[in-house]
């Protein structure tokens, strides 16, 4: 077996051609444009919650209704947002990203990259 880092010139040229194509740049932008802001948002929301639970304990301990506290509601909201982001991403990936990636793969095979 050869060094896995070796790549034939022909293959290298193909991949570089794809990577440098307009179509691939758009696909990459599409993907990063979705996952990066989303990651930033859920991490910010999670750490806000953690900081509130550690530093704003009086606020978190306020009762809203019966024994239901703000802390419990915000904690359960973490579940809700996690499920919501999961569904939103899965839908976006199925409907927007996958078709674009499949189209690109098709163009790669036919050799007519845009």
């Amino acid at each position: 077996m050869s060094d896995p880092n070796d790549i034939s010139e022909e293959r290298a040229a193909r991949y570089l051609e794809v990577q440098n194509s307009q179509e691939f740049a758009e696909l990459r932008k599409k993907f990063r444009g979705f996952v990066f802001p989303m990651t930033g948002a859920f991490l910010a929301w999670y750490f806000l919650y953690v900081v509130l639970a550690t530093y704003a304990t009086d606020f978190m301990s306020q009762h809203v209704w019966g024994n239901i506290t703000i802390g419990l509601i915000l904690g359960l909201l973490q579940f809700v947002t996690t499920f919501a982001i999961t569904m939103y991403y899965a839908r976006w990936a199925d409907r927007v990203f996958d078709p674009a990636a499949e189209k690109l793969a098709e163009h790669m095979e036919r050799g007519n990259l845009q």
Partner: protein, 531 residues
Amino acid sequence: MNALAIPAATQVGNTTLNILIFSIFVVVTLAIVIKVSKQNTSAADYYAGGRSFSGRQNGIAITGDYLSAASFLGIAGAIAVNGYDGFLYSIGFLVAWLVALLLVAELLRNTGRFTMADVLSFRLKQRPVRTAAAINTLAVSAFYLLAQMAGAGGLVALLLGITDRTGQSIVIAVVGALMIIYVLIGGMKGTTWVQIIKAALLIVGAGVMTLWVGAKYGFNLSGLFDDAIKQAGNSNILNPGLQYKNKIDFISLSIALVLGTAGLPHVLMRFYTVPTSKEARRSVVWAIWLIGLFYLFTLVLGYGAQALVGSATIKAAPGGVNSAAPLLAYKLGGELLLGVISAVAFATILAVVAGLTITASASFAHDIYAQVIKKGAVSPDEEVKVARRTAVVVGILAIIGGIFANGQNIAFLVALAFAVAASANLPTILYSLFWKNFTTRGALFSMYGGLISSLVLIIGSPVVSGTATSMFPGSNFQWFGLNNPGIISVPLSFFLGWLGSVTEKEHNAAKYAEMEVRSLTGAGAEKAISH
């Protein structure tokens, strides 16, 4: 997480029944493992279950792999005794899956073959990067494995009434031996099925108990809390702050939890068991729903145990905090339900250690032996043979480690595994997937820097020495002050990865192009090129 401590008191329930139900689980899973493993010869079979699992199956298996005994017994127990803080802890374990979903799972599936190192070494210098990735894989797996095996001792005491050390050691050896058999016969396929069955049992069992508790309170959460407060005699169980006194320490733990999951090698390896990146995505979606549902159950179970059993009884029971869920099962459904929950807890340990063992053996055989030592000049059959032998060695080491660690306060090992995963693995995974100018030096700085800083900080922390609850309560060489290294080690590793990369000029443009195109389009090397 509290270790499963060795108890002194007697146990509840019917030992014979517990053993019987667990034996049924072993016989049934073993039969299934043998049945599904008729075709189990190639490397892809052993490491990745032939990549033939559906997203749903793999999602359930991921759930089974992820929800360890620490999750099941530990979190329910933490809520039962400390209330809100236990719940707070569980949220980090769930939110962490979004990192895996959005940034890691699909790209990893498209790029790698069998191990985490496949992806990390893809466009960098093979041998040094693979070695570092394999060392981190083995380290994380070892910490996690030891924590599970040591926990088995406490569980045995609680569920089977075996309180003498010899008896517990024998049971640990039996658990280890069973795990070796599953892995040898079943490879990844068999291990996956054990995890699927265990996850189904765990979620159904916890779900039934949750409904049971709910029915007792007319599905009124506030009413349940009322009773829990009355039992505890302390309304603070609804408020944060009972368990985590040191604020910075909890934030440090949260960083490791939320960033660690997507760097756990045994979790990453599961993404290779599906045929496409789309199925990898489905796996994570299923896993998030099931894991989230499970943590919602533990919220009810924890406060339910507080209300119906009482934290004083729980703390005094064999197994301490970890006995909350089993005691609640006994209170609700008597010996039979306790027996079922006990069997589920054992199945949990078995399934998790099997997953860890196969990951460690794959990393040693595929990364260290085949690529680093033999430089790729080894047949797949030979590689799998080495992997199987490694699995036996890992299993035996786990048994010995588990027997020695039994009763030790090694609660920090799970947190350490997450800290190492978050600081030694995740930065390099993200850099190599998303940063063009990442280099071999950056990867090595980040991986070794993350591993070493986590270890050094843990050794200097109060969990190892200096307090009554430390691993070495008699000595004091602690200087760090925090129990969790994440707040230092994670940013440090990201910084080191950047530093190593900007001080070196290395760029394999062709391999980077291949990696990026493959990771995003899923157009595998062969398909994209053969025209």
